[in-house]
């Protein structure tokens, strides 16, 4: 029974991982992509997707063409990226029992990583700047607390320990500009694999942001929302040009309530929340699926697949800049100044600004369905 899988069958997984294929270098025109020059050193994007019933992670270029496709045993979620060494780790979606490290350019064989039997991944992670340590948000579900697992990239990603995440249900983790402070979004929701996807503590949840010095393991700062917003689960994070953490939330309270879903936190201050226009807030349906900045770090993009829209915010002021509709859109990543690349469950790969939509790959029934997150490298 899937919910009780202690770990994936390692041999099966390695067989799958070994079948990773590098997409043909020649430009692919079958899906009507504009162009995909070979030898291009432009940015690449990583996303998990469902392709004709099979789960995979894919590296695509800015033209939407596949550069690398790696089959994975179950639904993937997000990635830790070591841009210098051009390496990434794809995590399985919570309750994730697998991760896979791979060379973004397809140079070496993928490497399977499993969490300990009494932990599962939440689907997000980060590398330290030196590429040595992989940090992954994990569920210590018997104890009902969050953990950040530490894996040594130099030793085959052996897990050497963990640090407390500072809360329950840690979801996304980002590394701040100082290269040593982690910011963890503790979503606050307790889950246990014995109870499937059920949320076990909605009455007492206390979401928050935890800042952790990853060299010492010390919890250096915590930020919480106002008590009345204790059911506003902080899930996804991005860091702007000023080093401020932006976060996107999912509300677990009464559906008729419409609390703000976007916020930012400056160290040493209280978190600020931004509601935007009432219609946009309502359309987001109490759910933000992903948060990203543009390349300049001036504009925040937040996706709501429930609302089928990507909303844009001025990072300096929190002002709502507009939104673009994208049915089942969720993945967002920096593309250019004031542009993000967005992906959707209907196969769209789309260049968005607060005022424009340009499909790079049109949504279509036969195209791979992109899952929650899109990450950029380069």
């Amino acid at each position: 029974m899937a919910t009780h899988l202690a770990s994936i069958d390692r041999r099966t997984f390695l067989a799958l991982a070994a079948s990773a294929c590098v997409a043909p270098a020649a430009p692919s025109t079958s899906l009507g992509h504009p162009r995909s020059p070979t030898g291009d050193d432009g940015p690449l994007f990583l996303g998990a997707r469902l392709n004709h019933g099979g789960h995979e992670v894919a590296v695509i270029d800015e033209y939407g063409s596949d550069r690398l496709v790696l089959p994975v045993p179950a639904r993937g979620h997000s990635f830790a990226i070591d841009a210098v060494r051009r390496r990434a780790v794809a995590f399985g979606r919570a309750p994730g029992r697998f991760a896979v490290a791979f060379d973004i350019d397809g140079g070496s064989k993928p490497h399977a990583i499993a969490p300990p039997a009494d932990r599962h991944f939440f689907g997000h992670g980060a590398f330290t700047p030196d590429g040595r340590w992989l940090l992954a948000t994990e569920n210590d579900y018997e104890a009902g607390r969050g953990a950040v697992g530490i894996y040594d990239a130099g030793k085959g990603f052996a897990r050497i320990g963990e640090i407390a995440s500072g809360g329950i249900g840690p979801h996304e983790v980002v590394l701040l500009g100082d290269g040593r402070t982690l910011c963890v979004a503790n979503g606050g929701i307790q889950t246990h694999p014995d109870y499937g996807g059920q949320k076990l503590n909605l009455d007492t949840m206390q979401p928050g942001l935890a800042y952790i010095d990853c060299e010492t393991g010390d919890l250096t700062e915590q930020a919480f929302l106002a008590p009345a917003l204790n059911q506003l689960s902080i899930r996804h994070l991005a860091v702007d040009a000023q080093g401020t953490v932006w976060f996107g939330c999912q509300y677990q309270g009464e559906p008729a309530q419409r609390p703000p879903l976007i916020g930012r936190h400056r160290r040493g201050r209280e978190p600020e929340l931004f509601a935007g226009p009432g219609e946009t807030l309502k359309a987001m349906n109490n759910f933000v699926g992903s948060v990203a900045l543009d390349v300049s770090g001036e504009i925040v993009a937040t996706s709501s697949p429930l609302g089928g829209l990507i909303a844009f915010w001025d990072a300096a002021t929190g002002r709502h800049l507009g939104h673009r509709e994208l049915a089942d859109g969720c993945g967002v990543a920096p593309l250019e100044r004031h542009h993000v690349l967005a992906t959707s469950g209907r196969g769209a790969v789309t260049d968005l600004t607060p005022g424009s939509t340009a499909h790079i790959v049109e949504p279509a029934p036969d195209t791979p369905a992109w899952d929650n997150h899109l990450r950029r490298i380069g």
Binding site: T3, Y195, Q198, D203, E254, G289, D328, G345, A369
Partner: protein, 348 residues
């Protein structure tokens, strides 16, 4: 069936059907009225037990509880609207409760004889774990409950009476919420561009479809799986809801009946296009199959999960329930013209 095809092409099914009005009239109101009636009856029987304790009165009070549980099981599929407001769902049925909060709080309340917990008005302001069926079950069936027949536990009896009264009050509120004239009922039964919280028949259908699948997943994940454990050696029947009263399977089968009745009330089989008209029937068949399997469990919930024969039936019911949930989110939603996105369906 040319007419059906023209019908389905010309007018999107979701904009045409009156599923919300049918559900309100033929399922929601009767289901909540039954909840109200059985809760009030339980309050009355427990009150009689408190006034004149006897073994017979305790049996009657427990009998009333055994009527209340399936009434809740049926109605609980309507987990949106009035039931989602004011934490009513959790107040009637605080579950899952992996940390045993209800047990601890109820035991402490009974031990401390907290007088404020003996009026349903006060109880409504207290922890949800004290307010509903798990608390009432412990009061009537938990350790020491047999003393209720002898009258030595007067406090416990009055506490139980207050819980039943509180459930009846919440049921009153639910009926009021589903009555004509509320914003919710207006939007649910006649959605329009200016109604809230639903602005189209499609949004109402989405709510119904989500309720059906959520209830099925809840039944399996929150109620059956924890007690099943990873294997028979790890089975823990006492992690199942209402094992003390041996009403676990009565609850689950009533929940299945609620899913069936909600689907029938929505009347989808008559409005979806002919090529997918088999979908509701297939789902109903799965629900009936799961129900039959659970009906075949002949030993107490505390033991059933660790008994090979009973366990097979429960596991089979669980898989069938999961399959029905998947068919609802995938095939029924598609047949209704509701495109449920890959990301929107199951966000993280």
């Amino acid at each position: 069936m040319r007419v059906a095809l023209i019908f389905s092409c010309a007018v999107p099914a979701a904009a045409q059907d009156g599923a919300g009005a049918r559900v309100a009239e033929t399922f929601a109101r009767p289901a909540f009225a039954e909840l109200q009636k059985t809760a009030a009856a339980a309050e009355l029987e427990i009150g009689a037990l408190c006034t004149m304790p006897s073994a017979e009165a305790l049996t009657k009070a427990r009998g009333a509880f055994a009527e209340l549980v399936p009434a809740w099981g049926k109605a609980s599929v309507l987990r949106f609207g009035p039931l989602a407001d004011e934490h009513r769902m959790e107040r009637i049925y605080f579950w899952p409760d992996p940390r045993g909060i209800a047990l601890r709080q109820v035991q402490a309340t009974i031990a401390g004889e907290d007088e404020s917990a003996t009026s349903s008005e006060n109880l409504a302001q207290k922890s949800a774990a004290l307010q509903g069926l798990p608390a009432l079950e412990f009061a009537l069936y938990g350790s020491g409950a047999d003393d209720l027949a002898g009258g030595a536990t007067a406090y416990r009896c009055r506490f139980a009476e207050a819980i039943a009264g509180n459930i009846a009050s919440i049921a009153d509120e639910l009926l009021a919420g589903w009555a004509d004239g509320t914003d919710f009922t207006g939007a649910f039964t006649a959605p329009a561009a200016d109604t809230e919280p639903y602005r189209s028949a499609g949004e109402v259908d989405s709510e119904i479809v989500r309720a059906l699948s959520t209830q099925l997943r809840f039944m399996h994940e929150a109620q059956l799986l924890p007690a099943l454990g990873a294997d028979i050696g790890k089975a823990r029947g006492k992690r199942a809801p209402l094992w003390r009263s041996e009403l676990t399977f009565a609850l689950v089968t009533a929940q299945l009946d609620g899913v069936r009745d909600l689907m029938n009330a929505a009347g989808y089989e008559s409005i979806i296009p002919e090529e997918t008209s088999w979908v509701p029937g297939a789902i109903l068949f799965e629900i009936g199959t799961a129900r039959a399997a659970l009906d075949g469990v002949e030993i107490t919930p505390a033991d059933a999960f660790a008994d090979e024969t009973a366990r097979d039936k429960i596991e089979f019911a669980g898989l069938t329930i999961e399959s029905a949930a998947a068919n609802i989110t995938e095939k029924l939603a598609a047949a209704l013209g509701l495109i449920v996105g890959f990301n929107a369906l199951d966000g993280d």
